[in-house]
């Protein structure tokens, strides 16, 4: 422990001296983020100058005008000229700051003439991306394993900043984000784009970016959105337009194939082993954040699934709540988040795990009935 402390303290010394990217705002990879950075540094320097003057005067006074040195107090206590001066000068400095700030703000808020539009929807605790004019949409979940968070495995390089399916956007293209939410307020933030926009349920906000450099850019949800607020990162991959075009076409083809596969599978049955295995995986990814890995939930916040009435007896109700969610609660509709197989598997898993042992096997076809309601 103590060696760790010392290491941490020592580490802070070179950290403070170098590694600007670690301690300062990012300059980012867009024209806007560069302007924001410049504005930040300008105002920071102005504050430093004012600070040096004000604190300098204080320290001079503290050193020279002390009683222990026998300094006798002066008697002045007002001076209208000086007082007007130090009201007017700060005001002029503010005007000087306001001009570039206003210009940058206008540039940031102009989302017109975007070439690509992505609908970004936050929900507890994941992001959903849907490309306009393209048949591609998907959820983006934290990819860091629970064992890393609980310190049972070593933490990877991008700990808590990695997702299963990143958003992909083209470089040198104006990309517009329409940001909204399915439940509470979230905030979609990518520091390298200088884009942070609240996702408000029932309303749509607009933001945009035009990325100069291909790369992987990471951010996080910035608005407290409940228990796993710290665990819903944003990862955006910027690709050259041609590569992007190839990627999105491929995604469209995959999505189409998946839908056809889904229809074909309706007539097939899965074995209990298959259902339970897939179900556990889906449960840990999509359900355990609230209902917990042991199915017991958090009393008073998230209901238990272990031995409860709905899980044990009400099959129809169980499928319905998983597929369609429950209005007015944190229970989301998973019908559009998971495939029919996955839904069937996770419901089967819940009805048979943790000693529930109902023996019920739910198949894709059973779920499909509720989806179409």
């Amino acid at each position: 422990m103590s060696t760790r402390l010392i290491t941490a303290l020592l580490a802070s010394i070179p950290l403070a001296a170098s590694a600007q990217s670690q301690l300062n705002l990012t300059q980012g990879v867009t024209e806007i983020s560069q302007r924001v950075y410049d504005l930040h540094m300008t105002i920071f320097y102005i504050c430093c100058v004012i600070g040096v003057i004000v604190f300098g005067a204080m320290f001079v006074s503290m050193i020279l005008h002390r009683k222990s040195k026998g300094h006798k107090p002066a008697t002045f206590h007002e001076n209208v000229k000086v007082e007007i001066l130090w009201t007017v000068i700060p005001f002029l400095i503010l005007v000087g700051m306001a001009i570039p700030a206003t210009k940058t703000l206008f540039a940031m808020e102009d989302a017109s003439e975007a070439e690509v539009t992505v609908l970004v929807t936050g929900s507890q605790w994941k992001w959903h991306y849907k490309y306009f004019d393209r048949d591609v949409e998907f959820f983006s979940l934290l990819a860091t394993r629970q064992d890393q968070i609980n310190n049972r495995l070593d933490k990877g390089e991008n700990y808590l900043l990695e997702v299963d399916r990143p958003l992909v956007i083209p470089t040198d293209t104006k990309v517009r984000f329409l940001v909204t939410s399915d439940d509470v307020i979230h905030s979609w933030w990518v520091p390298d784009f200088a884009v942070k926009k609240d996702a408000n349920p029932g309303f749509i906000n607009e933001a945009w970016t035009k990325v100069d450099k291909p790369g992987i850019y990471r951010g996080q949800c910035a608005e407290l959105c409940g228990k796993d607020h710290g665990f819903m990162p944003v990862v955006v991959i910027a690709k050259e337009p041609a590569e992007y075009e190839a990627w999105i076409s491929e995604q469209e083809a995959i999505a189409k194939a998946e839908k056809e596969e889904e229809q074909r599978l309706l007539s097939m049955s899965m074995s209990k082993e298959e259902l339970m295995e897939l179900g556990e995986r889906i449960y840990l990814g999509s359900c355990a954040a609230c209902h917990q890995a042991n199915g017991e939930g958090i009393p008073g916040v998230f209901p238990s699934l272990k031995g409860t009435e709905m899980v044990m007896n009400d099959k129809a109700g169980h499928i319905d709540i998983v597929v369609n969610g429950k209005a007015g609660t944190a229970m989301q509709a998973f019908g559009n988040q998971l495939s029919l197989r996955e839904l069937a598997a996770v419901i089967t898993y819940e009805r048979n795990a943790w000693g529930n042992d109902t023996g019920d096997l739910i198949q894709a076809a059973d779920v499909n009935d509720y989806l179409n309601n």
Partner: protein, 528 residues
Amino acid sequence: MSTVAGEMDHHDHHHHAPSGITRWLFTTNHKDIGSMYLWFSFIMFLVGGSMAMVIRAELFQPGLQLVDPHFFNQMTTVHGLIMVFGAVMPAFTGLANWMVPMMIGAPDMALPRMNNWSFWILPFAFAILLASLFMEGGGPAFGWTFYAPLSTTYSSDSTALFVFSVHIMGISSIMGAINVIVTIMNMRAPGMTYMKMPLFVWTWFITAFLLIAVMPVLAGAVTMVLTDKYFGTSFFDAAGGGDPVLFQHIFWFFGHPEVYIMILPSFGIISAIIPAFSRKKLFGYSSMVYATAAIAGLSFIVWAHHMFTTGMPVAAEIFFMYATMLISVPTGVKVFNWVATMWRGSISFETPMLFALAFVILFTIGGFSGLMLAITPVDFQYHDTYFVVAHFHYVLVSGAIFSIMAAAYYWLPKWTGYMYDETLAKWHFWCSLISVNVLFFPMHFAGLAGMPRRIPDYSLQFADINQIVSIGGFAFGLSQLIFLWVVIKCVRGGEKAPAKPWEGAEGLEWTVPSPAPYHTFETPPEVK
């Protein structure tokens, strides 16, 4: 003055105060009530502080070690609520109770029974809030700002207790504010015109108006949260025609004046202490008064700078940016006036002065980051990161709380009749000063580098900074135990304090003996 003191002795002989617990339960004496407020706020400071220790312990290393994220959110929420409503505000009310009547030459507060009640409902409010932590589903976990719909549809049933306790805190604050206003308007000694009042009285006078203006707005906000959650209304639910952003407008219309409620009395305290230890009159008294009024006025038209990322129209963003930047003008005037007061004075460095000087510097640093946050385009980057956490802890801890410490040391001799232990107090100061900066300064860097606030776990790049911050946090927490030690020691005895222990101090409170008799100024003093 000796005649006044003699008269008071005479009165004390005829005073039949109940003894034991009933003295404190039934007291209508402003000094007793002031002491209770101060002790209560200190206890709350330790309770809220211990929650901060839980937060810092969890954040000491990446990964989840001690608490689960749901409990972590309860800690950040209740820490904030307790520090704002339980520590800082009652401490100022306690100081107002003790000092305002003594500073204006009044015998007591104007409405003493209400004074008793406004204190005694507070412990119940906080008992309810703390009890909610033990409910099934835990206490409030939606941040002290309780944004809807996280606090409505998605909260646990402790929300009802939270709402009730905030209502009680609000009632207490409003009653306290009414009392201060009525006292100042009606009970000033002959000759004590408004423009002769000490600045602590002035700043509290203005603060009290702010309280009366905005506490009902907070009450409205929590009531709407309650009805949205339990009675089917849709103030903040788009599905029913409401708007979750409306909540933020209402909350911050309360919340921004609220942050000035927590800093204006500090300005008054500092304006008393710096002249006293510079042995020189306060520079620019009237501009101090006008600057305070200007800050209070502006506080009503800047609320939406907390909400730049909610998707406001550009015109609104521009308005709130400009209005917010404007606040730095009157605030700057105050800082310049304090420096000018020190200039060519005869300065000595007793503990109240040390805390006051630290206040000026550290509060100004908080002001700088505040100015940076006002700039909308960069606020998009700073918003909801540790940069904001650093900013408001600089103005609230090394600002408001340092000023309360300064006030406590400044007036302890008057309250207890004994001088505090200067050596220990200096230990308290230096430990606090160093640790508070180790605690909060690196948070600026964490925020700029992209660490969001209110997260129980973070990516590895923030590990070093958080470890340093946590060490600073534990040190700051422990340092406050020195303060407790100094105060208890001072209450129990020590060197006898004269009526005016500070050479350069001015004001009526120094004309009465130390400790101040139970009843002061039953015959009003003459102010020339």
